[in-house]
Amino acid sequence: MATRMKLKLKTVFVLYFMVSLLGLVYALMQLGQRCDCSEHDLPKDRTISRLRGELHRLQEQMKKSDATKQPQKQPAKPTVFVITPTYARLVQKAELTRLSQTFLHVPQLHWIVVEDSPHKTPLVTDLLVKSGLTYTHLYMLTAKDRKLQEGDPSWLKPRGVEQRNEGLRWLREDRRAQPGGDNQQGVVYFADDDNTYSLQIFEEMRSTQRVSVWPVGLVGGMKYERPVVEGGKVVRFHTGWRPSRPFPMDMAGFAVSLKLVLANPEACFDGEAPMGFLESSFLQGLVTMDELEPKADNCSKVLVWHTRTEKPKMKREEALQAQGLGSDRAVEV
């Protein structure tokens, strides 16, 4: 009986020792994780860290709910490829910021940003990284003779041509490198960085089979321009300026299916086209008017607006700079 007792005690002690060892190892592993160090912080910092933790938890919750929502939806939504030409000016960061805030709401969106620059600028690079979007960052410098000079009216030379063509070129190359039927699914949309887009327009364009069209607000010197739809087909265009153009609409008023873009590798924007014919120069080779698909409730709703941002007045800044007292250049605006 005594030996049995001793044996039992020994095993108990051994057991005790193993459990303590495991507990210690576990505690050491916990050191690497997030801690609720509520005992050490001052009450002020405690509130801040609690709020930050709450925010972090909410964001993780959001990400989790977004991830679980996807498999419930219909399989493989076609991706919307948005090509945005951009160039450096004072309001560039603001425009791209609020554009990215809109895009962040749109699922399956791939943003192709093409800078009018000889190289990628840090401003745009950082912005894209922080945006949380799926993106491709490209650059293509406009030749000097094609570029608008200071003081030129905005309609003098077409803008963004080389950049949009570069976006198309990348898209074609990227898709060719990855063969597969699924990769041909998608819609291409040309979105300028100063326009305003509602979230509905992206869902409207997702079902594009060839080229879809819709009204655009605040363009062409009118409240809105739109295709006129009769019997479900586009019969003419309602516009106040040169309605005899093949496709008298704004860049923001149409989207092309990726399949069509890939099937016509020569289709691109013609920088030599006369003013207002830029969109037509691209669409002419792709589709005829009766093949156009009207969206936005048979083109009766305005879901995108051709807003333009004022150039900020820098009189005082220029005066200060003349004195050598300009605002800190290191601060990015």
Binding site: V91, W305, P312, S327
Partner: protein, 335 residues
């Protein structure tokens, strides 16, 4: 045959461990339970439900050319948290061609911000259907108010006379609404921010202002004829002046978008409003702030006022030459 002594020994050894484990589990489970409850909490606001993407299956039965009727409501805003202070964003707005566009993109921005309450005040005799419908469709947590600026205060034509304060009456109405809706000793923390509908706001800005205790300030781009205006912050992290060219000797030489006020401060000083008459250009912000805080009470944000997180963008007035006198386009179509 296990003896009683053995059993007692085993129990004595196992008991402290079980106690330890149960206590440890308790402490980790309760925070999880608290967050789960937030998801299910309803009835905050009728507009803050999480809708799903609804699509009618007309594609299978009909022609491609047929209009696909789709209904989608936004799947934001982020879930409401019980611990984050609410940001009450006060936006005065008035009817003009770009109004719907401006409010649309502002709503797209605000839908990313958790615990946000949008107070939209229209400069109109009654609440317009355009704004009401927009607010309902975006599913943002909102309050829709309206008050018309009396004609003698309105901006005449295109002239931007800085002596006539724009949006003042609307902002004051929002302040009054806040004071009527919330009691001083209520525990709901909140921040009040005046956001115009044509500016651009980064999402980081809203998180910076959430920790405001009294009044916090930060730089604003494209104001005062400069790349940006900002408060001057000394090495102790206190504001001592204003880096502006336009009248830097104002009590608060800051733009409306450059500061936020803690709700408790607004409620505790019920007489503080934006001054309506006799306000010199650029002094409107000072007319409110001087009733609330002193310079030394200001809290600098945005890395001690070295980062620009809000831009005072202005949208061009669209040229509507082709509309002519009678209006070329169908006036029933809302823009």
């Amino acid at each position: 045959m296990p003896k009683r002594r053995d059993i007692v020994a085993i129990v004595l050894i196992v008991l402290p461990w079980t106690l330890l484990i149960t206590v440890w589990h308790q402490s980790t489970i309760t925070p999880l339970l608290a967050t789960r409850k937030d998801d299910r909490r309803d009835g905050r606001s009728k507009s803050r439900n999480t809708f799903a993407f609804k699509e009618s299956c007309s594609l299978q039965n009909r022609d491609i050319v047929e209009v696909v009727r789709t209904e989608y409501v936004y799947s934001r805003p982020p879930p409401w948290s019980d611990t984050l202070p609410t940001i009450h964003v006060v936006t005065p707005t008035y009817s003009r061609p770009v109004q719907k566009a401006e409010l649309t993109r502002l709503a797209n921005t605000l839908l990313h911000v958790p615990n946000l309450h949008w107070i939209l005040v229209e400069d109109s005799q009654r609440r317009s259907t355009l704004v009401s419908r927009l607010l309902q469709e975006t599913a943002v947590n909102y309050t829709h108010l309206n008050v018309e600026t009396p004609r003698n205060y309105k901006v005449r034509g295109d002239t931007r006379d800085p002596r006539i304060p724009r949006g003042t009456i609307q902002r004051n109405l929002a302040l009054r609404w806040l004071r009527e809706s919330y009691r001083v000793n209520s525990s709901q923390p909140g921040i009040v921010y005046f956001a115009d509908d044509d500016n651009t706001y980064s999402l980081e800005l809203f998180e910076e202002m959430r920790s405001t205790k009294k009044v916090s300030v930060w730089p604003v781009a494209f104001v005062g004829g400069l790349r940006y205006e900002s408060p001057k912050v000394n090495t102790l992290g206190k504001v001592y002046g204003w880096k502006t060219v336009f009248d830097p000797h104002r009590p608060f030489a800051i733009d409306m978008a450059g500061f936020a006020v803690n709700l408790r401060l607004i409620l505790s000083k019920p007489q503080a409003y934006f001054k309506l008459r006799g306000v010199k250009g650029g002094y409107q912000e000072s007319s409110l702030l001087k009733e609330l805080v002193t310079l030394s009470d200001l809290e600098p944000k945005a890395a001690n006022c070295t980062k620009v997180l809000v831009w005072h963008t202005r949208t061009e007035k669209p040229v509507l030459v082709n509309e002519g006198k009678k209006g070329f386009t169908d006036s029933n179509v809302e823009i």
